[in-house]
Amino acid sequence: MKASLVHSHAMTRTQRPFIKLFIAGLLAFAVVMIYLDARITSTFSEKRWELPAKVYARPLELFVGARLDADDLAYELSLLGYRKVRQATQPGQVGRAVGRFDIYTQGFDFPGEREPARRIKLSISGGKVAGLQSGGSGLDLLRLDPVQIGGIYPSHGEDRVLVRLKDLPETLWRGLLATEDQNFFSHWGFSITGIARAAFSNVRSGQVVAGGSTITQQLVKNYYLTPERTIVRKLTELLMAMLLELHYDKEEILESYVNEIYLGQQGPRAIHGFALAARHYFNTPVEQLGLHQQALLVGMIKGPSLYNPRRNPERAIQRRNVVLDLMAEQGVISAEHATIARAMPLGLNAAPSSVRDTFPAFLDLVRRQLREEYRQEDLATLGLNIFTSFDPLLQRQLENSTSTVLDSLDAGGELESASVVTRFDTGEVAALVGGRRVSYAGFNRALDARRPAGSLLKPAIYLAALEQPERYTLATPLSDTKVEVTGANGQVWEPRNFDRKEHGQVILHTALAKSYNLATARLGMNLGIDTVVDMLRRLGIRGPIPEVPALTLGAGEYSPVAMAVMYQAIAAGGYRMPLRSIRDIVDAQGEPLRRYVLAYDRTVSIQAVHLLHYAMREVVREGTGRGVYRYLPAQFAVAGKTGTTNDGRDSWFAGFSGDLLTVTWIGRDDNGSTGLTGSTGALKVWAHFMARSAQRSLGYRMPEGIETHWIDEPTGALTGKGCPNARMLPFVSGSQPVTRTGCAPQESRIKNWFQSLFGGDE
């Protein structure tokens, strides 16, 4: 009894270290398991739906009478991934016969409103929508889905389009299981045979090479683990896979997998998930992929780079056919279907999908606006939907005009250019070019170039003058004669005219139209530099403005966007408004988060702006901007201003039609001479673009308190209609000249551009 007691005592003593070790091991294992479990449960749901913000263009509004080119509509539809078919029978398809479109729209959840998917018949003739029908009856208004122009990605660059399992073609996910994990629905997260096979080949090769991973393991690996191949990592993967299976059902795991799987790279952007890959490789919604395309995507999982269909088409086809065979073997598809699919070409879209970095300059603008209010992390993960004012059709034309004109000006490629296009009645930026290489996300000159503005600033000086109708009218004589100003530092500023001549007495409107420097410098000095600065501020110019006499001729540093702000206020009739690029932000659940409201405040007299419009119309009819009518139809009214800086370093043009404001700059990054003036350079890009994109002529709308009078040109005195040198000018009521020529009104049939604006007799 005692002996056995001693014996057992001795035994416990000898075994204790092992038990301790065992218990410690068990505890450690439990801790690890708890840790892994916590990691999975706390982050799996989030990770599943971690989404970059999507940035959308404006939706195209379709209605009878809408100005739209058939080719532009076709381009918009191609950006949206609509597939060309004979007859549209499914969402996302379009049939076209010249100007007749048969479109099955994809529908879209707009902020606060759903636009349903529907089949429409639309006809375009003469650049306008002539007919719009749905279900046999007329349709008043329809929004196409908006083009996604980019996203805000996390630093690792992952992008995806989420898809629900139930929306995937069944053959796609069953094909995936047939290829990657045949026992998916019966295993516990790992496959004994798979591991055994992998272990065997690992032992044989002496290192860890093969995976033998189930779908669950692959998912765990992608979500949580680093890619190195070690035994510990493999064990962790195994444990986590089992835990994942404990917590989530098969459908949830599979759904996560199809959204997570890595399928290729486009620059810095990683293509994840079948839905995005479908758009990327085939420009087709994943729901509509053909069998051959589904099999290709499934096959690529094994090696997205090795089986990249663009780089290695032969290998990709072989791999795809292996998958098709597997699918037929496993009964996912019939042998006949497999044979047909094997005979198909790869079916890729011609160019990589248009998302990301196709419109880097505009996205840059959007990002900057977003960063003022959102954390980068939120932008990259919360799945926000950002609706912008971007217009892909205007952008395409702007890019086209930029490259066409620049290639004709300078084949050497040293010139750079930037342009901003806004819809000035709302202040929304519609298109933006930040450099000659439009799809290159580099230095964004539209936002970041800092250049003297030259004569582009002159309208601000004339506006400041015209705001004092008791002192200045369009008919006020100015002196365009030599002027010298001695600055505070003793330096003498002595501006010259472009033609190096003095023009003597000139009328105010002519001085602006012909961009006379001496008259403008004198006018600015008489007004006072502080008055000029004040006007620039009221027109929305921020940042430093040099308070020197040379400001009257555009000294300082201004970006094209800053000039757009200033001209925007002028075009809008004296309302200052911030440039907007974002309309709405909606969260991942479709709840509106933020609406960017339209806000403007009057900062300049509407009458003074009206008079300035006259002079800026004259610029393009008779002055330095006449070149625009080599591009525009003669009856199409616009207003604008040229700008040239010393030695032709900068060539500017800013101007507007009835709908669009465009500012264009041409120069060199090294600030060298371009040999261009505003009218031989930037004007051409501007006019080339406006001739093709502006839809509304600049209407003549006289505000209250304005009246027109006949003025004798050289003297600025009142005269009669039809008298020699008579010109009709608008005046703030009561500010017209008092002196008269004494010439009585006469019959005259000749009308100049300004009279033509009134149509009938005046």
Binding site: F63, A97, G127, T510, T677, T680, P703
Partner: protein, 155 residues
């Protein structure tokens, strides 16, 4: 083989489209469909051109400077105005403004849309925007009742 088929169809389409474009050109109904044979963009430097002030008489005969509002634009956004009015009456000004801004994008030259905007800002109590929209609307108003309503709201 497939590629060949596609390109010929495309060619046909392109030819048809070109023919259509030429037809519409002849009809002269669009201001911005320019002739294919646009003059080469050569331009005398206007700044160095002789500066004798000649009132360049632009020989334009039929003037349609201000392109008439599209006849059907009103149909297009009429429903939006109605919905906006309902939203405004319910006090949902944000929705009303969203709808009106959409209407304005469809027809930026509509005094009617400006009037709706000004009334909505008035109901919302945003005096600055009420004045601003009414004043801008005055430039576009049509008919005395619309204009006087806008004038009242602009003050």
């Amino acid at each position: 083989m497939k590629h060949v088929c596609r390109s010929t169809t495309l060619e046909k389409l392109a030819k048809l489209a070109f023919a259509g474009a030429m037809l519409s050109l002849m009809a002269g109904c669009s201001i911005y469909s320019l002739p294919g044979s646009e003059p080469a963009p050569v331009e005398p430097d206007a700044q160095s051109a002789p500066s004798t002030s000649q009132p360049a008489q632009t020989p334009v005969t039929p003037t349609s400077p201000d392109v008439a509002p599209d006849p059907n634009a009103n149909n297009a956004y009429g429903a939006l105005l109605q919905q906006a009015e309902q939203a405004r009456n319910k006090g949902d000004y944000e929705r009303a403004l969203t709808l009106l801004e959409r209407a304005q994008r469809i027809d930026p030259d509509s005094g009617e849309v400006y009037l709706h905007l000004a009334r909505t800002y008035q109901a919302k109590g945003d005096l600055t925007m009420q004045h601003a929209t009414a004043e801008r609307g005055l430039l576009y108003c049509n008919g005395s009742s619309e204009c006087s309503a806008l004038r009242a709201l602009s003050r």
